[in-house]
Amino acid sequence: MKISLKWLQDYVDVADFLAQPEPLAEKLTAAGIEVEGIERPGQAFASVVVGHIKVKDRHPDADKLTLCQVDVGSGGLQQIVCGASNHQQGDKVVVALPGAVLPGDFKIKVSKIRGVESRGMLCSASELGLSEGETAEAAKGIVILPPQAPVGESFARYRELDDVIFELSVTPNRADCLSHLGLAREIGSLSERPVRVPEPQFSATGAPTQDLVAVEVLNAQLCPRYAGRVIRGVKVGPSPDWLKGRLELLGLNSINNVVDVTNFVMMELGQPLHAFDVARLAGPKILVGEAKKGEKFTTLDKTEIVLKGGELVIRDEERPVALAGVVGGLNSGVTDQSQDLFIESAHFIPESVRRTSRQYGIETDSAYRFSRGTDPEMVELALNRACELIQKLAGGEVAEVYVDHYPSPLIREAVAVHVDLVSQKLGYPVEAQEFAQMMTRLGCRVEPLVTSQSEAFALVAPVYRWDLFQPVDFIEEFARLKGYDQIPESFPPLEHKPSPHAREYLMQETLSELVRAQGYSQAVNYGFIGSEWSADFLQNPEVLPAWGLEGAAEPVKVLNPLNVELDVMRLSLLPGLYKNILHNFRHSVEWGRLFELGSVFQAKVPEPGKPAPAGSTEASGPSVGHWEYVERSRLSMVAWGQSETLWHKKVSWPVVYDLKAAIESLLLRLRLGGFHWRTAEEMKAQGQGVPGFLHPGKSAALILEGRPVGFVGSLHPLLLEREKLRADVSVAELDVESLMRGQPRALKLKSLSPYPAVERDLTFVVPHSVPANRLFAEIKKASGPLLQSVQVVDQFTGGDLPAGTRALSYRMKLQDSQATLSEETLQKVQSQIIELVKKKHSISVR
């Protein structure tokens, strides 16, 4: 919101800040009325003055140019060459002297034009950056000032541009500061200066308003006060310069004298007004009530809307003529022909205006003020102020009596505030007397209360401070006036045991640390993603639950997304991470390791009678029956490419094994031994679908303690081709809750055997259809407690091996805790293994 300091001067003395506004800005900011910017519009017009054309000649060498001798009040005449033609000898004009810099960084210098020296420039409105001039052509002509314009005066002062404009950021609770008078009051209480309230003077001789326009308020709940006054026989026309100037400095366009007055009063007193043309009101009647469903309405700026019904509208006998407090109708507003006006000054309740304004996306200065709360007591003053100014500028006969529907005037209740509470809440001692003084300065009615314990006051806030109704509200006001810098620093003592951190946070921290130790860097993506991108990546999310990732097939939609790329909540972290891979790859990061720990989202229709699932939110505390949402924490890891350093080049292996190894060491660090991988092939054999984004031959589900908890796999080549991504990309997603079940797991220490361990290798010819880890079960079974570890140490295909098979070498480490293993025992174990494997898989030993 913009405030003009010169305008402010009408209500409170701020003249001392015109030259140096910064201290006032700081004072306001320190009091919570933030001054975001300070503009000095007059600065653009240094060396621009009012001049008087004493002589106008033709340029000796150019027909279209004139040569003027101009008095600029400095003694002597300035010779100026001018290209325009609308100026005459004797005119008062705007002269930019050498040294002036006009808008657009246009520097004025002494120059020679067609051989004749020119010491300045006569300015047009467009050159001055002013909006006046009805047409583009008029804007190009020289500005001709009224004859009484004082020669030599700075143009900025002449046009009252030697002003300071504050750009204020007013918090929603301080609607009372959205006007010049309001800010004057604030400055008054901050610096103990008297505030002058306008006292309108006008003659009211016309017939009473109610005889000319019948006013009826049908919904006094949404409209607690409605006042109006008729002015007959006005002459609508352009506003005088002072009015135009004031509005333009605040960024408002001048429309005509009547509309400008309503805007002026709004900026002055904070009360929005509306002027109806009585001749255009059917009846003529004004009804304040709710709209009917389907009614059509066209706003002043020609936006057509269909009303939903229930909005507060102003209507005449036939149709809505204004959206109450938001915008007037095209059908009833003031035009150049209007003669009889009905000026509306009302108090609409904020919620109603805000709802209508947001519903139709109509944001006006009026709606802004009403929806933040206007002062019902200002209605009358604003109405009369408007009548005064309209009569002054447009003539007309003001109705002797105005209408004012205010059935239940707002009464502010007294609030009891104990001074002890003020001291306690602020943390420094507060004197009762000082507190009472400050409250009085705010405009409160202050009465001492007799209490047994401490000094206290009954405070009644001024009506315009609707935000003050609890003791703490007054305490804040005291702190504000006293200065927040008065608050000392103290350290609250810790007298109770701190509670543990939330388990989910600790889980995430543990996982993050373990994954980073594997060389994976943390990524953070948005919680929402494009539905199309997500669907194209995931393809068949309905299969994911079988792979250990609970969730819905359809993502939660955002009703009002910023754009289509952020229109659904994510179902998986992988589509986002895939974007990150592409970004990295396209910026020449050809290999990398990323992980993300984050939430995925699912909507659930609640089943009646069932308790809400863990992690779900209900719409409002105890009530049920709405949609419920479940958020699950996921760990996703992605790996693409291999580090091509000196050493890694010598051995290279599919990236998916890298990722798998990282997950396995993570599991071991979590002391989770009971896991194995179930290949996509095996999943299919069990009737489960394979996620479409995974390579069906290079993916596996992680089975932890008998249950699937996620997967690892290479991306499907089709996806990579679609993005022209020439890298080996592998991904994994794991359910955090499943990984962290029972964490931290207790460490079970094994005793160490003093006897030597023996390694034995066995090589089997295994069909491709049998995963290598299938044989572990038999090996474990056959070796019993002697087996310390088993791993695949070699794999070989080709040679004389039958087609569709490979030779796999298993290395067993065997050890007995009671004795040195005898060759006999080893032989026995070995033949048992071979026998069991043969029996189970029809596999021969090599």
């Binding site: 703490v472 804040e476 810098d485 620093e489 609250p492 810790l494 509670s499 939330a502 953070v524 409002s620």
Partner: protein, 360 residues
């Protein structure tokens, strides 16, 4: 095999030889051994020569056998000569051996030399995301004064996100936060403050909690992302003052940015706190002298804070005459910008490894 030629295994010939001849041969052997030891190119060859002269089948073993055959008058003379010769040769051997050893070590070292300007195999740790770095640092600072972490849902009920925090429907305070909706009653939480409500409803004061997390606002420009992070602190106890709040934040800011910094409060408005304040700290970049970060004001805005509005305590079922509270919160990305000088907010979500790796 010149030695074999000298000591032909014809015992009779030996025996017939005079002592002088034996001594002469001893000289010859010594000369030969000296030559052989000196000429040995390496320790292995040298050792072979040692065996040849001093081994079981070596020359000196033969000499000892010769001595056995000598008469008693010759034995001492010959024995002495043999021993002295042996000692000389052994000394020569040791000298040669150590010389050859050091030569060989020098050669080996030269051969084994590696170019240690070459890198080792990569074995890097992954890095924490700067957002997580900041969150963690804040948690570690405030944990020390008894705050513990609480988390809450990101899709939040309207009541938790707004009403319970004294932001009624159609209230102008809703203008402060542009909200994403997923249905008529659920929003993407616009702040971490609803975690306060969950905590107040589920736990018994006194309380000190911290709620970090992802929040959403539907405005987006070069300096605002629609999904960013906040952290919020709340303390509820019998008596809590603005001075407690200022003292807590002053401790916090000094721990996070440096001990010389100051905290400033400016009045502000949040529906869920009263009194409310914005808290600034003297600019950690320029120490308050004025720079681009602080727009030459010497102060940077950190976040919002205040005493918990009694209405909020009541909504959460606490009696405001019995309990009071303070709350504060701020944006994590902004802290990361101040702390690490991140220039462009897009960097936070592109997850470019060239950016992330710098936080290792």
């Amino acid at each position: 095999m010149r030695l074999r030629a000298i000591f032909q295994p014809d015992q009779r010939e030996f025996v017939t030889m005079a002592l002088t001849e034996h001594l002469a041969r001893l000289k010859e052997i010594e000369a030969q051994a000296q030559a052989d030891f000196t000429n040995a190119p390496g320790t292995k060859e040298l050792y072979d020569q040692k065996v040849r002269y001093f081994g079981k089948q070596g020359s000196f073993s033969e000499l000892m056998r010769v001595m056995g055959k000598l008469g008693p008058e010759d034995k001492p003379t010959f024995g002495k000569e043999v021993n002295e010769t042996k000692q000389r040769l052994e000394a020569l051997y040791n000298q040669q051996e150590s010389q050859l050893k050091s030569q060989e070590m020098a050669t080996r070292l030269a051969q084994e030399a590696l170019d240690l300007s070459l890198p080792g195999p990569e074995r890097s740790q992954g890095s924490r995301h700067p957002i997580s770095l900041v969150i963690n640092e804040v948690i570690s600072i405030l944990s020390r004064i008894g705050y513990s972490v609480r988390l809450g849902p990101q899709i939040e009920g309207d009541w938790f996100n707004f009403e319970a925090l004294n932001i009624p429907p159609d209230h102008p305070s809703r203008d402060l936060q542009d909200t994403f909706y997923v249905d008529d009653h659920h929003v993407l939480r616009t702040h971490t403050s609803p975690v306060q409500i969950h905590t107040l409803l589920n736990e018994i004061p006194p309380l000190r909690v911290l709620a970090p997390g992802s929040v959403f606002r539907c405005d987006s420009d070069v300096s605002h992302s629609p999904n960013f992070h906040q952290i919020e602190g709340m303390l509820v106890d019998r008596k809590v003052s603005m001075a407690d709040l200022k003292g807590t934040l002053s401790y916090f800011v000094k721990e996070l940015f440096g001990s010389s910094l100051k905290v400033r409060f400016r009045p502000s408005f949040f529906p869920f706190t009263e009194p409310s304040a914005e808290f600034d700290c003297s600019c950690p970049i320029c120490q308050g002298k004025g720079c681009r970060m602080c727009k030459h004001s010497g102060w940077v805005e950190i976040g919002g804070c205040g005493l918990i509005n009694p209405k909020v305590l009541m909504q959460a079922g606490l009696d405001p005459l019995e309990w009071q509270g303070l709350a504060f919160g701020f944006g994590i990305e902004r802290m990361a910008i101040i702390k690490y000088g991140v220039q462009d907010i897009r960097l936070f979500n592109e997850n470019d490894l060239r950016f992330l790796r710098q936080f290792e």
